[in-house]
């Protein structure tokens, strides 16, 4: 069965193609359109998925869409009714937008994409639950889906057993942890649906002194269920997420781009703490309903790596699977997985251990672009071993390497296919890297570590801890903090990716680096500069290389330097 999963019209539009239960290709539209978090219908991503295996749309058996647009529209109208007469401006903006395209998903798929067979409309949280459960190795698992909002649902408790998903409990809009966190993102002067991880990073520099104030905004029960106190929020009736009452409680919001004060850091720390407490209470309740120590999580809030790293110590769950693309791009994948199960009427066994599913380019195509840059010189390595030895040596000498290899990753994290790499110490490497990426200096960097050594450097729940998607922060062991000085955050945690033989050349690079230096870990950040999506084409990588202080660029087998 060939099934195409699609997400669009909110953020992170994407397409994913499965053939006979195997994930063949998946990519976000932003990589082609170069619009960060592009929410337009993913025509280019769909075309890429088909082209990658030489298919046409007529070869596809089914398309699965990641939500039910009519139900979402109904919720939108219900919100306008509930907030009448205060939501005129959002109404005037939303209605033409919805009538123009968002309500017409079926039409777009049939007429613009040219697909004539069956279309699945999988509800949003079911798409998330499917993405999490069917991509895991678990036969039985508890599943938590948690995001801003789907059609109505913002939070879902599920059980997966023998390939069947069962919904257990839910919380509906407007009561949403995702929207709560986003409100604080906006309040702290950052972009909603883009910069939530900045709040997470900032929290390490503050102390949670506003927790009591935040509990005015939210009522929580011991079982982790909650209600937002809507007297403080205005995301239903306006374009600003918080209102004057919110400001009276917590003070003036930070102006975007303005100075970050200690108060902002403390507020970030406070909301992070509240969300963690809520999450753990929910997970305890989920455990009581399911009695399994296997957990899958999905939805935008599941990208909160800091909270994820504490699940092992703060909840009964011992085995946790969070797909790297836990947000809406991953929901495209989840919709396809659910459609596959429904279409085949049998157990879907589609564990996903690799997210290298996107576009790739040959040495020849990279070289043809390089030739248009006279200011660059390059060398082609025929033997991978020679290339790896050269690059590892450069890394050990403190060089910053743009690494463009193989198929691009699916999801928000760079996992060693489109990465900028450096050694993980000394601390100055962090500052140098932040200058290249044009990021705020409080932002931490993540690390990629050989799986066989992860327990030596981090406090892990088990010896050969497996976390391939860089969505968990763990505490760094005291004796190793100097060795990883550039990636240890202010709270002594680090977001990590465990790397093993499945990571191919990237694994072999780190192995060689380890052989040279005795340190099995490198700094890994995404290959992009501020405001742009991760690079997709060699030309974008070259442009970033040329206009930055990166020392070396590696394009597959080509090592590029500036003259």
């Amino acid at each position: 069965m060939k099934i195409l999963g699609v997400s669009s019209f909110y953020h992170d539009s994407a397409a994913a193609l499965f053939i006979d239960g195997k994930l063949i290709s998946a990519i976000e539209e932003e990589r082609f359109s170069r619009v960060k978090h592009d929410n337009q219908f993913p025509f280019k991503a769909i075309q890429y998925c088909l082209d990658s295996v030489g298919l046409t749309i007529d070869d596809i058996d089914a398309v699965a869409y990641y939500e039910k647009p009519l139900r979402k529209f109904e919720r939108l109208l219900e919100t306008f009714v509930e907030t009448y007469p205060f939501a005129l401006k959002p109404f005037l903006q939303a209605i033409p937008d919805w009538l123009g395209q968002k309500i017409n998903v079926e039409d777009i798929i049939r007429k613009n994409v040219g697909f004539t067979k069956r279309i699945y409309f999988v509800s949003h949280h079911l798409s998330h639950a499917s993405a999490a459960y069917y991509s895991s190795l678990f036969k039985t698992a508890a599943i938590l889906t948690i995001d801003g909002v789907g059609e109505y649902q913002t939070t879902g408790l599920w059980k997966g057993d023998g390939g069947t998903l069962s919904p257990l409990a839910r919380i509906d809009f407007p009561h949403s942890i995702g929207l709560l966190y986003s409100t604080f993102t906006a309040y702290l002067g950052f972009k909603v649906n883009e910069d939530e991880y900045k709040v997470m990073g900032l929290s390490a520099y503050g102390s949670p002194e506003y927790v009591e104030d935040i509990y005015h905004l939210i009522r929580v029960k011991p079982d982790g269920s909650f209600r937002l106190n809507m007297e403080y929020f205005s995301f239903r009736e306006g374009f600003r997420m918080f209102n004057d009452k919110f400001i009276s409680l917590l003070g003036q919001p930070r102006i975007p781009g303005g100075k970050i004060e200690q108060r902002h850091k403390d507020i970030a720390a406070s909301i992070q703490k509240v969300v963690e407490e809520l999450l753990f209470a929910m997970l305890h309740h989920l455990f009581s309903l399911t009695h399994t120590t296997n957990l899958c999580m999905s939805g935008g809030v599941a990208l909160n790596a800091l909270a994820n790293g504490k699940i092992y110590t703060r909840t009964p769950f011992k085995h946790v699977h969070i797909l790297g693309a836990a947000g809406d791009s991953g929901a495209a994948l989840g919709a396809a997985l659910y459609g596959m199960r429904h279409g085949q009427k049998k157990e879907v066994n589609a564990p996903i251990t690799s997210l290298y599913t996107g576009s790739s380019y040959s040495n020849e195509s990279a070289e043809s672009v390089l030739k248009t840059y006279p200011g660059l010189r390059y060398r082609i390595y025929d033997a991978e071993q020679d290339l790896i030895q050269e690059v590892a040596a450069l890394l050990s000498k403190g060089k910053i390497v743009g690494w463009f290899w193989g198929k691009t990753e699916f999801g928000p994290r760079a996992l060693g296919a489109r990465s900028i790499l450096s050694k993980p110490s000394p601390r100055i490497m962090k500052d140098n890297m932040n200058k290249i990426k044009r990021r705020e200096e409080f932002r931490p960097f993540a690390g990629s570590i050989l799986q066989e050594h992860v327990h030596e450097y981090f406090y892990t729940p088990e010896k050969k801890y497996y976390s391939p998607f860089m969505n968990v922060c763990l505490v760094v062991r005291e004796k190793k903090r100097n060795e990883l000085a550039a990636i240890v955050h202010a709270d002594n945690t680090c977001r990590i990716q465990t790397v093993n033989i499945d990571n191919g050349r990237y694994y072999r690079l780190i192995k060689e680096y380890y052989r040279l230096t005795g340190v099995p870990c490198i700094l890994n950040t995404s290959f992009n500069v501020m405001g742009e999506p991760i690079v997709e084409h060699p030309r974008q990588a070259i442009e970033d290389f040329v206009h930055s202080r990166m020392d070396i660029l590696v394009l597959n087998n080509l090592v590029v330097t500036k003259r």
């Binding site: 009519l70 009538l99 309500i103």
Partner: protein, 50 residues
């Protein structure tokens, strides 16, 4: 836009919420106006005068 109309009517039929009906009816009017503006040689703002 015709497909928008179809979707709106589908929503009105499937939704069990009574309050949807007046909104859908009025939005259908807006949808018809937009369709008309796209295909009619006559500007829609003249309709009330006519």
């Amino acid at each position: 836009m015709f497909s928008s109309l179809k979707q709106l009517i589908s929503l009105a039929g499937k939704s069990k919420k009574m309050w949807m009906i007046p909104i859908i009816l009025f939005i259908v009017i807006v949808a018809l106006l937009i369709i008309s503006a796209q295909i009619s040689p006559l500007p829609v703002f003249l309709y009330p005068i006519l």
